[in-house]
Symmetry: C2
Subunit: 406 residues, 2 copies
């Protein structure tokens, strides 16, 4: 298999890397932020808006899609890309995280997890192999191995046993992929509805799981030695990339940084590293400085629905009365379409009046902010000025309560 | 004042007219449908999407905007156009209809209406002159005279007295406009937020109420003689256009048609006629055949939020299980962006999963459907085939329960 990841610049004063990940459906410049498309849609936005934001990849949540509309539906439509009309890369999680955070009556055994979903309570069972089957059926470009994500705080013994089981699960996922390398995955170039009007050029996608990437996940909770052992064991299995899981689950920020620092030295330099499910803008820069390449987080979309917008000075809660007569854009000098066209006062009115356009506009701005932060980080790494940029950004950014991931 | 309305084709077999209304902010080809932007936003859509739909005018609800964000806020932002970033024509209603349908504790006197709004219960008073003041402050391109819209059913005596009062109110509105012809209205070419990025050409708008149009409203409930008397009295006052009010308020469809037929012969042929607050696609064509030129209705946006889409064969409730595995677009051969890119099955999933994109997509399709119906009606009138088109369309269209305006 051809090399899917290149690093072409490393910061002098930190571990920040400028790289590029190649998938069957397109390249991803790293450091990269992946908007979260939980249920086959990045909340509030259309695929066209995601393309206009220059999002290079979106994340799909396997658990949510498995529960609704169900795998049979997505398979019938030829995979997730075609279903949601997004022809760029999609990373799918394994479903594990949501089983542990949303589903009811979970029962974890060596074989996998049995659970009742949170929508209609139907029972289901997911094993490492089934998680791979599901992600292949979705047509994932980057699949994640099934892991157990332990809560914070977590007893040492449980964390140790869990991380070992996660390694055994990872091995099964790797095994499934090797056995199913020739298995066809959805081809997404079937005609779209009323397709004669489409302007996009058809692309000849490869159509076997061989062409999707598989990432392993490092666990180990907040224990330095467990993080190290987990990283070494997962790396021994040789994945296309490595994720740090079990972070941003309620632990203090220092613990989160330490968990990443504990694992990172054992990850190979020539593979992408993905810090899962985080975080605030300063946290992303701190993670980049610690050698992380990829991120996903619901903050920009979730906080938008609550009226909260990101700026380089911190967040603004646009519901506040102070913005009622504010003619300025969300962020001055921001180049996003929203800041070109709409005032804080108007957006505040929309949010107060519960008009959907309000959360759409803030979502667009917030994702632009996150994606632009990654663009700037890449440029600063290339220019050798990343660490200075990070320090200045973090110093300017005022943390607020709203920044906690709910 | 220059002539604002031209009729350049009349159907041979009906009263349908092909015309063009010129306002300070642009032309409106008639028959025209006006999307409803109740609270400074056409629900779910951005101004850019409205432009891409080729909407030539939107409607703003004076009552809603008066209550929230309040007139002071919109004045501070330089008028409604600038506030919502829509530089095309806006028709504002007088606020009367919502005072009668939404507000609490209404007290109607010869001078006007005292009411408590439905949001925070604050008391306010609107007279014919105040309704004009408010619409001028909003920067309306087409203002409506204040009227009393009586409910259905309505006693003859009440309807008669009410229609006479509506005429006296209309006279006061006309008088206010004549006295305030030189009054400045908002100029909307102040710099937009981060305006250096805007690509639109600046336009030199006229800036006095002289350049806005004022329409009178015919009332008279379901009584033929009252409709005639009201039409004659309102026409005597000489407005820029004439609306038929008090229709689509719960009366049977035949009564609605008769109300319009009773008033229409007394309306001048060289002025636009606006049938307020309706209707279904067949009703619009029937109204066009009866000489009506302009329409507004919440159906395409409101039903979209409920998962209901319009097609030439009738409505589809996309929540229904039958659409789960339907790869077709909402309407085959529809040229809207939604039908080019998304399947019924995907949109059904979004609606079931309560994803905002679902109602956005149906709203876009529904407004395209309404606007396109008007485009086709205009073309058929020009080609001399309107009446045949109307008959065929009405015969093909299956009415459903969902079609009732709530």
């Amino acid at each position: 298999m051809q090399k899917s990841f290149e690093v072409f610049a490393i910061d002098r004063d930190s571990k920040a890397r400028r790289g590029r990940l190649t998938t069957a459906r397109g390249i991803i410049d790293t450091p990269a932020f992946m908007p979260v498309g939980t249920q086959g849609s990045v909340k509030g936005l259309s695929p066209r808006e995601l393309r206009e934001l220059d999002a290079q990849i979106v994340l799909g949540n396997t658990y949510h899609l498995f529960v609704r509309p169900g795998l049979d539906v997505i398979e019938y439509f030829g995979g997730l890309h075609r279903f949601m009309n997004w022809d760029g890369p999609i990373l799918t999680d394994s479903g594990g995280y949501q089983i542990f955070s949303l589903a009811k009556l979970r029962k974890i055994t060596e074989d996998g997890v049995e659970f009742q979903n949170h929508i209609d309570g139907a029972r289901a069972f997911i094993s490492p192999e089934i998680a791979m089957e599901i992600q292949a059926a979705l047509g994932s470009d980057i699949a994640m191995a099934l892991d157990e994500c332990v809560p914070y705080p977590c007893e040492y013994d449980y964390a140790a046993q869990s991380a070992e089981m996660t390694t055994r699960w990872a091995k099964k996922c790797k095994g499934w992929k090797e056995e199913n390398a020739e298995r066809p995955t959805p081809i997404n170039r079937e005609q779209a509805p009323n397709a004669e009007h489409r302007t996009a050029e058809p692309i000849n996608y490869q159509s076997s799981t061989m062409n999707s990437l598989l990432f392993g996940i490092v666990q180990g909770a907040t224990f330095e030695d467990l993080r190290k052992q987990s990283a070494q064991a997962i790396v021994d299995l040789d994945f296309d990339g490595y994720a740090i899981g079990g972070v941003s689950v309620g632990e203090p920020e220092e613990e989160m940084m330490r968990a990443v620092e504990s694992a990172e030295p054992f990850l190979p330099r020539d593979k992408p590293r993905y810090a899962m499910g985080l975080g605030t803008p300063p946290q992303l820069l701190e993670m980049i400085a610690r050698g992380m390449d990829m991120f996903d987080c619901v903050l920009p979309t979730r906080l938008a629905r609550n009226g909260t917008a990101f700026t380089a000075r911190g967040t603004l809660n646009l519901k506040n009365a102070e913005f009622a007569l504010d003619k300025r854009p969300i962020e001055e000098n921001c180049t996003c379409d929203v800041c070109r066209e709409f005032s804080r006062g108007y957006i505040r009115h929309l949010i107060k009046a519960e008009e959907i356009l309000g959360l759409r506009l803030i979502t667009l701005h917030n994702l632009h902010f996150y994606l632009n932060l990654m663009r700037q980080a890449r440029s600063e790494i290339e220019g050798g000025t990343f660490d200075q940029f990070r320090r200045m950004f973090v110093a300017e950014y005022k943390p607020r309560d709203a920044m906690t991931v709910e």
